[in-house]
Point group: C2
Chain length 311, copies 2
């Protein structure tokens, strides 16, 4: 029996350009459940997921002038853990044999209040604003705003995850054969105050880094980062682009990736293997089993000397 | 060691007239955590909570003309389990000694698709509409609408909870000393389809009835239904109103209560005791410990012959 952490990327749960309605999300959750189900039973499986589009919509709705003022990001993150966790759990139960137990667990992840990310927030969230509006919001609410294309958006810190608060509960559930859905949206970011208490913060933890931390703490045999791209490519968007089949983390680090989709996955995968993890895989949701078998996707591992390429 | 189910009423988490901002909710969650904390450790404690105001706000926001169409109630319920569960879990952890483990678990509760409640939806949710608007929405979206004061609201079914899907996981956590927050908002209502799969439905399960079912399935020693009223009163809002100290369920059923706050609590408490539960208590959040000790609130139990009144 192996233990796998499977991270479902935002693009694996909501296809590019798809509307953010529940039917689309339920259908995609069902596709994800079917892709993962064959791994469950023979193995221990823990599932994490992104929440980018969902938390963006909630922030938009919450920013409008309702009865209640803007909700902070930690609370909106918790709401998306509820929403997406529910859909994933239900669709998983619907494809698994009835004797399987599933649990979707709210997950707080501790970060450091003096993480360098707070000095330079980079993660854009929520709606676009004109320069005037953005400056006004920045003054009124203390937001950091930054140019995004021709308009402005609020940007928040994306600090490094340090500790999963519910890790003991997750380990207990996994050891007892429960399929656990957790750390959704990178977890709910919290800091520990000088008096020892926890409090939520306005930040977004990268889901792939949260999944790598989870994989390390649970001593997983593999970390799978699934998306809608079939492998990591060197020189992506270039006629010479080549898919990577197997690579050592030190060689992977020498390659450059766009800051968007692949860079955090590559960094998280390398981080897991560099700190003693046996294998991290990156690839298409539908290839989950094939990636573990070495027949699809990109495998990051120390068990290879020269980089192996897909033709 | 005793096992207690503690249901936090909407009025225990958000005081009447308070704004629906996070600061108020966090403060109230903190007050609730401090009231319950002394019971944890010596006993097994499972906490449930309402979500009336919170799901109403989300329904309002979701009904507005955003990028995404109206989200169904099961999904909004799941979002509130995330939001409220997170605040409660964090505040609980902040008052408990560090060796206590807590878990907030998404909870689906199965109802019957042919529950009589679907024929006559009674639970009002979301915003108020004029008669013309209400009729238009009824036609467009298939909603049932009903008069509420001078305006109209959408009404949904409040079916009887039959089965807690995650009961095995909850039992496992409780047996291992984890304080579990679950069945928030009465649980996420789901029905089992003829092919055996689960699907969410547009309904709202009464939180007190869901808590009674949980108490029965977990063989709890007591079910505590906490609110902002200190006891159940006979002839409430009458100069002769008398607080009930101890009463048998059969005598309790002979009294009449307003359909609003107390009636579902009384029905759920009687249901638990009638089906073999030892004691159900109803009273003020701050009196949780005193209610268990028989020094406050209303105790519904078979272990009393004549009704005992507060003076």
């Amino acid at each position: 029996m192996k233990r796998y952490i499977i991270a479902l990327g935002g693009n694996a749960l909501l296809q590019r350009g798809e509307p953010l309605d529940i039917e689309s999300q339920r259908n995609n959750a069902s596709v994800a459940a079917r892709a993962i189900a064959p791994l469950i039973g023979p193995n221990e499986v823990i599932i994490t997921h992104g929440n980018g589009p969902q938390v963006g919509l909630l922030a938009l709705q919450s920013a409008a002038d309702w009865q209640a003022p803007n909700y902070p990001l930690d609370v909106l993150d918790a709401e998306t853990e509820g929403q997406i966790g529910y859909l994933l759990e239900q669709e998983l139960m619907n494809v698994l044999p009835p004797d399987h137990r599933c649990a979707a667990l709210l997950t707080q992840i501790e970060i450091s209040a003096d993480d360098a990310a707070f000095e330079e927030p980079t993660k854009p969230i929520g709606p676009f604003y004109s320069e005037t509006e953005a400056q006004k919001l920045s003054k009124q609410r203390g937001w950091t705003v930054a140019r995004d294309g021709r308009l402005y958006r609020r940007v928040v810190a994306s600090p490094h995850p340090k500790r999963i608060i519910e890790i003991g509960v997750i380990e207990l559930l996994v050891q007892n054969g429960v399929v656990v859905i957790c750390a959704g949206g990178g977890g709910i970011p919290v800091v520990r105050q000088p008096n020892g208490t926890l409090v939520g913060v306005e930040a977004v933890i990268d889901k792939d880094h949260a999944s790598a931390l989870l994989a390390r703490q649970l001593k997983a045999d593999a970390l799978l980062l699934l998306t809608d791209v079939d492998a990591v490519y060197a020189d992506w968007a270039n006629p010479h682009a080549r898919g990577i089949r197997m690579i050592r983390p030190d060689n992977m680090c020498r390659l450059a990736f766009e800051a968007g989709t692949m860079a955090p996955k590559v960094a998280a995968a390398c981080d897991f293997v560099n700190r003693g993890g046996s294998m991290a895989g990156i690839g298409h949701l539908q290839d989950a089993i094939a990636i573990l078998a070495g027949e699809a996707g990109t495998r990051i591992t120390e068990d290879v000397v020269e980089t192996v390429w897909w033709n």
